[in-house]
């Protein structure tokens, strides 16, 4: 029997951040992820609370990333107190290792911003000089002045183009090395070509120097790149933060029986660990001692808790609910079930990374065609056109600039940035741009049951039929327990007082002394009631003193908009499938309630992957929606995966889209937006094909100077970008 008194039992499970503290001389540094901050008041409350702690030198909250950086002096301050101080304010805090979290983050964004700054400076100054050269229609400007202006432009444009274009050149080289062409190849060729020809023209004292063209192009493109990168970084950071929360720390027992917190990654097989109520088992382990209920929903998808037995194998990810457990680790983090699932996920993702984006697919046709035309123009003019080498090269460059792939370089990313932004507003994080492309092509949607179609936790369903006051009284006891059934009662009753003299007996229930009476909340046996056998509902009995026990009925309820979502998806032409790891009876009830024609129960994580492979071999393209650890491989195996903000970290990292909140309808919104963005991208392709069909013949014929080509190209860029922006105005379906 484990006693849970009000002080230690009710506070959230502690993660001791000690292993994450970095030392530098006398100074200690710690970074914490704080959830729930959203305004100025939150910042000041947290920072003030931190400064009130002894020895704190600096405390700085970053509201955008939800992180708190803390520096203090000496050992007077225990890291645990920091976490409890933050939790006392009503925020969740968890430590993370900044070394692993921020390795790549920020560096790429800053590099893109530096390129943007350089090209912005260059295009402003080069434009200033170029406008004066263009304005000189009457030839009043002396030849010497004109050349000096051009040479100054060259001095600015050459380094700016070479540096500012680096993101494009790198990506183009990367693609060419593996024998593919992506949209950065024509961009790099056009930019470098325009620069080269301008330098040559200036050296020869000629007419056609356009230093503003390459820098302006790079500037506009970089604006798109930076926006795109920012959005994706936001979504990725959200997913990474959640992963960091999963890792955390565990209590390792030393030989003398004392417990010390360690990072989960430091656990070796054979270590003895202490698992407190509310904690997750960090690695696969064998139970040595302790009585408790275990919530396995994350691992198996089963909604009911089970009782822990000594000697039993506990998988990583299982949550300990009621009592303290002493376990022996039998694997390191890398060998656990989680790692096994991670391998399955990687297999799925590898297949997925073979997906070729629309823009790159178009580029593969576009690049050879355009470059062949440009080369033919050059050869044609030289051989048959009776033109000088310079005139021929100018015509060829005009072809390259006028066919500059704005639709590929700008319009598709613009569509995706707008779509991602719109979904972000609706509470949907899109982890990669091509996820939207993949979703747009799907025709089947596969749902997990527990935690996806249902809330994944029991809810009190017969609240109204209970005798008055029963719920309030039962809640006094329920609030002291972490068992999901107690939680459901506490949630139904809302916040309130707790029974002070209470104790929880693992597997049976909670007992408390209230007003001199013994009150019991728990199983039928525990309260001395006759259990009504019911396969579907879960029941909890409440007994006050010697009065007759009262039955409280709970169900793992469907999400309120589950039926509406399934109906809307069916109307949109989707085949809905349900795959559940739960037993047949509850699965059947849900499937029938929602009108699923295809459903399976008792299915293992591998089984889900197999099922998705089978769907693919039938030629069906499936979106997977799931929340549990057991869904993670299937999320990666599907064409696209959708997970939830409160789902297991591993399933979030396997998914492409993450939905915040309790509703399912955002799925419909996400599919609508992805289909709309496909339409807009294709419209842009069509427009640019039409534009090229008109412009290329003119350029080949030598009727277009590079200046006119640059103007025509810019206006076509504007048209496709505006078309992309139309997507932002679409009405939300939810």
């Amino acid at each position: 029997m484990v006693t849970l008194d009000a002080a230690s039992g009710l506070s959230a499970p502690f993660i001791d951040p000690l292993p994450f503290v970095r030392r530098k001389g006398d100074e200690r540094h710690l970074e914490l992820l704080v959830r729930g901050m959203h305004c100025a008041a939150c910042i000041s409350r947290i920072e003030r609370a931190m400064h009130a702690l002894p020895g704190v030198l600096s405390a700085r909250v970053n509201l955008s990333t939800g992180k708190l950086a803390l520096t203090w002096k000496g050992d007077a301050l225990e890291p645990r107190r920091i976490v409890s101080a933050i939790e006392a304010l009503g925020f969740d805090a968890s430590p993370f290792d900044p070394e692993t979290m921020e390795r790549d983050k920020g560096a790429e964004t800053n590099f893109l911003l530096r390129c943007l700054g350089v090209t912005a400076f260059a295009s402003m100054n080069v434009m200033l000089l170029s406008v004066s050269v263009w304005a000189d229609m009457a030839g009043e400007m002396g030849e010497g002045t004109r050349l000096i202006l051009l040479w100054i432009s060259a001095l600015i444009a050459i380094p700016a183009t070479l540096y500012g274009g680096l993101p494009f050149y790198r990506s183009a080289l990367g693609a060419l090395r593996v024998g593919r062409a992506n949209m950065d190849v024509p961009i790099s060729i056009a930019v470098l070509g325009a620069l080269l020809i301008s330098v040559v023209e200036t050296a020869l004292g000629g007419e056609h120097a356009y230093f503003e063209a390459p820098v302006m192009l790079l500037f506009l493109l970089l604006v798109g790149r930076v926006l795109d990168h920012r959005l994706r970084e936001q979504a990725r950071a959200a997913a990474k933060d959640l992963l960091a929360m999963q890792s955390g720390t565990a209590l390792r027992l030393a030989g003398d029986g004392s417990a010390a917190p360690v990072q989960v990654t430091a656990i070796a097989p054979g270590d003895e660990l202490l698992i407190l109520p509310g904690d997750r088992i960090p690695v696969n382990a064998v139970l040595i001692e302790g009585e408790s209920s275990l919530d396995r929903s994350l691992v198996t998808g089963e909604s009911m808790p089970i009782e822990a037995k000594a000697g039993e194998l506990l998988y990583a990810g299982v949550r300990n609910l009621t009592g303290r457990l002493r376990v022996r680790a039998i694997a390191a983090v890398g060998d656990s079930l989680v790692a096994e699932l991670t391998r399955l996920i990687e297999a799925g993702e590898q297949r997925r990374s073979a997906y070729i984006r629309w823009a790159d697919r178009a580029a593969e046709i576009y690049v050879p065609v355009v470059h062949t035309i440009a080369a033919l123009t050059l050869i044609g003019w030289l051989t048959f056109g009776d033109a000088t080498l310079r005139e021929s090269v100018m015509a060829a460059i005009a072809v390259l600039i006028i066919t500059y792939p704005c639709a590929l370089g700008l319009a598709v990313p613009a569509v995706q940035v707008v779509a991602t932004g719109r979904l972000f507003q609706a509470g949907i994080l899109v982890k990669s741009g091509d996820a939207l492309e993949r979703i747009a092509t799907c025709d089947t949607i596969v749902f997990d049951k527990t935690g996806t179609l249902t809330y994944g936790r029991p809810r009190l369903t017969d609240e109204k039929s209970l005798p008055p006051g029963t719920l309030e009284d039962a809640a006094l006891l329920a609030r002291t327990s972490r068992h999901p059934l107690s939680r459901a009662i506490a949630e139904a009753a809302g916040p309130g007082a707790i029974a002070s003299e209470s104790s929880e007996i693992a597997g049976k229930g909670v007992e408390a002394r209230v007003n001199g009476e013994i009150w019991r909340l728990g199983s039928a046996l525990f309260t001395g009631a006759q259990d009504a056998e019911d396969d579907e509902a879960l029941s909890l009995w409440f007994r006050k003193g010697e009065r007759a026990p009262v039955r409280l009925t709970l169900h793992d309820a469907l999400r309120t908009d589950a039926a509406q979502t399934v109906e809307a998806l069916t109307k949109m032409g989707f085949t809905c499938v349900m795959l559940s790891g739960d037993r047949e009876a509850p699965a059947r009830r849900i499937a029938e309630a929602l009108g699923f024609k295809e459903w399976e129960s008792g299915i293992t994580p591998e089984g889900k992957t197999e099922k998705l492979k089978a769907l693919r071999s039938e030629g069906r393209r499936a979106v997977m929606v799931g929340d549990g650890m057991n869904d993670a491989p299937a999320l990666a195996e599907a064409e696209a995966g959708i997970s939830f903000g409160n789902a297991a970290g591993i399933s979030q990292s396997a998914a492409d889209l993450i939905i915040e909140g309790e509703r399912l309808l955002p799925i419909v919104e996400a599919i609508n937006v992805s289909r709309a963005s496909r339409t807009h991208a294709f419209e842009n392709f069509a427009f640019s094909a039409l534009y090229n069909a008109l412009a290329i013949p003119l350029a080949v014929a030598g009727l277009v100077t590079p200046l006119i080509a640059a103007i025509a190209m810019s206006s076509s860029s504007l048209v496709v970008t505006l078309n992309a922006l139309r997507l932002a105005k679409g009405r939300a379906t939810t």
């Binding site: 003030r48 400064h51 509201l63 911003l113 700054g117 912005a120």
Partner: protein, 53 residues
């Protein structure tokens, strides 16, 4: 046209000054927390300092 010998260097110098300022602001992390900066302006500095000191 002699005036150009002053004006162009001045224009480029001012532009370069802007670029250096931008690169400096980037390096000193001024773009790391855009939302926080917007919220912090609402905080009362004086009151804050009084409590801290």
């Amino acid at each position: 046209m002699n005036v150009l010998t002053f004006l162009i260097p001045i224009a480029i110098f001012l532009g370069a000054l802007g670029l250096v300022a931008f690169l400096w602001s980037l390096k000193s992390g001024q773009y790391d927390d855009l939302e926080g900066a917007a919220a912090r302006i609402l905080l009362d500095d004086d009151e804050d300092d009084a409590k801290r000191s």
